[in-house]
Amino acid sequence: MSTRIDARFAELAKQGRSAFVTYMMAGDPDPKTSLDIIKALPNAGADIIELGVPFTDPMADGPSIQAAGLRALKAGMTLKKTLEMVRDFRKDDEVTPIVLMGYYNPIYIYGVDKFLADAKTAGVDGLIIVDLPPEEDDELCLPAMKAGLNFIRLATPTTDDKRLPAVLANTSGFVYYVSITGITGSASADSNVVGEAVARIKRHTRLPVCVGFGIRTPDAARAIAERANGAVVGTALVDALRGTLDAEGRATGKSVAAVADLVTALAQGVRGAKQAAE
């Protein structure tokens, strides 16, 4: 079974470059602006879109993404509306992969089977669920695989060689390497250390390895893209959006452009990478 994610990585391999993966919170700062931003991402240079599903208690996220989630919830965002947003996006874009990233409870309450069916229909390609380690694969990972959705696992600096096979066993699409022990938007990792970690993971899998956490600038994105199959940027984009909001946290005329401009700059960094990891 091949998904949009598999197709995108195959195409990038032909071009000989790494992927630029962007994260935005669905519904931040309101559902309409958020959809406009998501629609602008592919033209600005995003190869894969991660869409955060807002949750009240994001235990692995730093202050920026926590605040983005609360803005989205305040604007009435829900998991159901996040799926509607993906469906609207798919009207104009049949190729850019979309990965939903979030926490398990909203999906559990929505109902796993119903969620998987609705997500597939809407045009979702993969899931990253922070609080579902391999020990809980029965919950969502195995049903998602059956439903034809990629379940993308996080590997971290604490995932040692002994544990990696378990983490990779039911992973598909790509592996998301969290480059630091910490929350989103905190410290940044040394790109050489990251390179070694990616090489270690690649000894265990043929899947592409993307790296996230702590990448904020085009130079940092380039350095990571030279050592991995993809660079993920989230907090820096969320911060760029926040910088354009008015005192009440509402979107302004600058909101969509500010995110698109930063994505363009970061994408140039990724595309300027000397050589993608193989």
Binding site: D57, M59, A60, I107, I109, D131, E135, T181
Partner: protein, 409 residues
């Protein structure tokens, strides 16, 4: 789901959890990958300690000479007369060093942390009782201690903040979310994810990812084990009923667990009904449903989108939108009956107990007393009822004084 109808009753209620940390459908290990290896290490370290007689001996020594155990089982004669029914006994956990049952668990976890070579201890706290117990044991064993506490709770439990700082702990007020216990737990988890290499997370209740609900329960079972012996000595038999308040539910589980397989013993847990169950409250079983938060599946307060809702209780220690997973299981299989008490009922019980028995209970424990006031008169005079007096109320006096002053105006 109606209690008692989910599954056939187990042969024993005391064998859980299974090796994956499940109590029936509840519990589990819902954590980020960064934490997973640590949780597996902790599970191993705890299993090793549990099998080691020197660990038990060390615990016993500190429980006796440092904590002051056994805590008395006290016949509350005047309350019994006043209520005119069941003979009411108090398990006096408020007499422990640091003033609550929390120290039983913290001592155990600090012993495990020392065996694991961890030098930095983090904790979350609501009312501050768990924070004070953690700060105390860290002082005793020379460990660095960081306590996360919601900014709202820092304001309403000022005496405990001062105690923690006096003991050398660093108290970090949490400004995110609702700024209460759930956010303190989020922030502690964020710290743990960041400082995995040297940090031990000392969770204050029977919640969180496996093995915490089991481990904390085991450390708290000293309450029920002692009660069993002391009641045997006082009355020559088992008690007829047990009552305890529930936030996460560790004092309750500590009392209940050793009696779960005694069918003659009625067991009542008391959740915080806040302003009332149709308004803001903290009663996860009465007003919530099964969901996943903070590493485990359990009953939680949430909306239809799975977003966690704000809890409210007059008592900071019960102000949490969840409950330990083992309680969720004991609710669904019907072994334990879960009741709830409002802020006003707890406040009345707080004053009643102060006047009748000369014991100022914690507002948390006052919730249990509030239901004893309802249950005891309906029971015969030879009925033996034990209530867990889980904490003392010194920390609540400024808050209660403020409320009572407001009522007089």
């Amino acid at each position: 789901m109606n209690p008692g109808q989910s599954n056939p009753l187990p042969n024993s209620f005391r064998t859980g959890p299974d090796e994956r940390g499940h109590f029936g459908n509840f519990g589990g290990r819902f954590v980020a990958e960064t934490l997973m290896p640590l949780i597996l290490d902790l599970e191993k370290a705890y299993a090793k300690a549990k099998a080691d007689p020197s660990f038990a001996a060390e615990m016993k020594g500190f429980l006796k000479h440092y904590v002051g155990r056994p805590s008395p089982l006290y016949f509350a004669e005047r309350l019994t007369e006043h209520l005119g029914g069941a003979k009411v006994y108090f398990k006096r956990e408020e007499l422990n060093h640091t003033g609550s049952h929390k120290v039983n668990n913290v001592l155990g976890q600090i012993m495990v942390a020392r065996r694991m070579g961890k030098k930095r201890i983090i904790a979350e706290t609501g009312a501050g009782q768990h924070g004070v117990a953690t700060a105390t044991l860290c002082a005793r064993f020379g460990l660095e201690c960081i306590v996360y506490m919601g900014a709202v709770d820092v304001a309403r439990q000022a005496p405990n903040v001062f105690r923690m700082e006096m003991l050398g702990a660093k108290v970090i007020p949490v400004q995110s979310g609702t700024r209460t216990l759930k956010d303190a737990m989020n922030e502690a988890l964020r710290d743990w994810v960041t400082n995995v290499h040297n940090t031990f997370y000392c969770i204050g209740t029977i919640a969180g990812p496996h093995p915490y609900p089991m481990m904390v329960r085991d450390f708290q079972c000293v309450i029920g084990d002692e009660t069993r012996e002391q009641m045997q000595e006082a009355e020559g038999r088992l008690p007829d009923s047990l009552v305890a308040c529930i936030g996460g539910g560790s004092n309750a589980m500590g009392l209940f667990h050793p009696f779960l397989d005694e069918p003659s013993v009625e067991i009542f847990g008391v959740e915080a009904a806040g302003h009332g169950l149709t308004q803001l409250h903290a009663a996860s079983i009465a007003g919530g449903r099964a969901g996943v938060l903070h590493g485990n599946r359990t009953y939680l307060l949430m909306d239809d989108d799975g977003q966690i809702q704000d809890a409210h209780s007059i008592s900071a220690g019960l102000d949490y939108p969840g409950i330990g997973p083992e309680h969720s299981w004991l609710y669904e299989n019907g072994r334990v009956t879960y009741l709830s008490a409002t802020d006003d009922e707890a406040l009345a019980a707080f004053q009643l107990l102060s006047r009748l028995e000369g014991i100022i209970p914690a507002l948390e424990s006052a919730h249990a007393i509030a239901k004893v006031v309802e249950l005891a008169p309906k029971r015969p005079r030879d009925h033996l009822m034990v209530v867990n007096l889980s904490g003392r109320g010194d920390k609540d006096i400024p808050q209660v004084a403020e409320i009572l002053k407001g009522e007089k105006k």
